[in-house]
């Protein structure tokens, strides 16, 4: 009994804290219970998941959970479809770990000023990545 507690409590300030692994980036950080994954990442000064609205609306923090137990708060259906939700996709700002998680980053901050490849015709922009804006091109 004693040794189990020691193992659990020894090097963590919070008794309940999950380890979040971002697989492709070799980034990992601890996520306290009740704090969303994106917020824990920001609080620890880590990077890996793009940070947008932090409200489940913009979709830039989209991840896929490859392993581990979790729950989510409501996420915009325009960003995570029902089908995607079943496949383990989630918005990190609405994702709460129930144990250690392995994540893959899916979302991207759109390029603000995606260079225009077809310089003669920028309107309509079939060549621009989805979500890109042209304050400047």
């Amino acid at each position: 009994m004693r040794s189990r507690c020691a193992a659990l409590c020894s090097n963590r300030s919070e008794a309940v804290s999950a380890r979040i692994d971002i697989v492709d980036d070799a980034v990992h950080f601890d996520c306290p219970e009740g704090v969303d994954v994106l917020h824990s990442m920001i609080a620890l000064g880590r990077r890996g998941i793009p940070v947008g609205c932090r409200g489940g609306g913009c979709g830039v923090c989209k991840v896929r959970v490859l392993g581990g137990a979790y729950r989510t708060d409501r996420m915009s259906r325009a960003r995570i479809t029902e089908e995607e939700e079943k496949q383990g996709f989630a918005l990190a700002c609405k994702l709460y770990a129930r144990g250690d998680l392995k994540l893959q980053v899916v979302g991207k901050m759109a390029r603000a000023f995606a260079p225009c490849k077809e310089t003669m015709h920028c309107t309509g922009a079939p060549h621009a990545p989805p979500g890109s804006t042209s304050w400047r091109r």
């Binding site: 609306g57 409501r74 915009s76 310089t119």
Partner: protein, 311 residues
């Protein structure tokens, strides 16, 4: 009367993922006052200095973003004429009349979808329920203000694909003026942003060219001073609101500003300053090489989150 036709942005309807969290944000932090709720679960709110019945509509949905934006026009006759002109222009789609009373205290609304995909509506009547100070020997501000306490809903900035079509509709059909623009592309010939006004404000609505239709960048509320913008920044930290950027100043419109997100990820702005716009004021043009200071005058740096995160 110098100001005719479209008078002002009258309301913005936002989709939120959690109405309880949204109400805490819009009432306690931003500082709007709740006016009423309806049987669809919509909540109607307004700022302290607004005379009309409501200016913000919140509705719980499974997506975030802007549902529609409403514009007050000067008379029923103007409303009928605009409906006719919009139809004749061929620039808008999904034209329809929403019956009086569908919004509480509001007359019939003419609804249409503009070329950038946003839903707009015009109306000539909304009950004048009065502002926080009244109209007889008023004090400069009312008791019981809370949160950032902006005096009014001011404008929206929206992202969409057919910017040229939308600018044509607003300027040639609805009588707006182009106060400022951002140009780029080969020879600076492409307009990438348009800041348009129907009033004496530097903008009542703005549009940015973007690959997708019908995206919402922010809705904005007016504060009286730079000091109030700094206090808004304090409130953002105090209430752990997701900050986007600021306090800072825009080159475009000269606004002193701060941006943050509501709990569903819809961006809000509170700002002060700007200038008086008259209809004969020359259009201000910002060129591609000055886009940094045009957007954030102090850092002069582009910020990807500010420029690309939308709902």
């Amino acid at each position: 009367m110098a100001m005719t036709g479209v008078l002002r942005p009258g309301h913005v309807a936002l989709r939120v993922l959690d109405i309880k969290a949204a109400l805490h944000h819009y009432k306690d932090v931003l500082g709007l006052n709740e006016v009423c709720r309806d049987d669809q679960g919509r909540v109607f709110l307004k700022a302290w200095d607004e005379a009309d019945h409501h200016s913000v509509v919140l509705k719980e949905c499974d997506t975030a973003g802007m549902e529609y934006m409403g514009w007050r026009v000067d008379s029923d006759a103007t409303l009928k004429n605009f409906a006719k002109d919009i139809k004749a222009s061929g620039l808008a789609t999904d034209l329809k009349w929403i019956p009086a009373g569908e919004h509480p205290g509001t007359g019939e609304r003419f609804r249409f979808t503009i070329p950038t995909g946003h839903v707009m509506e015009l109306y000539a009547h909304k009950d004048v329920t009065g502002c926080g100070t009244g109209y007889t020997n008023p004090d400069p501000w009312p008791e019981g203000m809370h949160g950032m306490a902006p005096s009014r809903f001011d404008h929206c900035l929206l992202y969409g694909d057919d910017l040229d079509g939308t600018v044509k509709l607003f300027t040639e059909v609805l009588g707006f003026k182009l106060a400022e623009e951002l140009v780029g592309g080969p020879g600076g010939k492409q307009r990438n942003a348009a800041f348009m006004t129907c009033s004496n404000k530097p903008h009542d609505v703005a549009f940015i060219r973007h690959t997708e239709k019908n995206k919402f960048h922010h809705c904005s509320f007016f504060l009286n001073s730079w000091e109030e913008v700094l206090k808004a920044a304090d409130l953002i930290s105090k209430h752990k609101v997701a900050l986007d950027i600021g306090p800072t100043r825009h080159g475009i419109t000269r606004g002193e500003t701060i941006y943050f997100f509501d709990p569903s990820g819809n961006r809000n702005e509170v700002f002060a300053g700007g200038y008086i716009y008259y209809p004969d004021k020359p259009t201000i043009t910002w060129t591609e090489d000055h886009v940094g200071p045009a957007i954030f005058y102090h850092t002069r740096e582009l910020n990807e989150r500010f420029l690309t995160v939308v709902t």
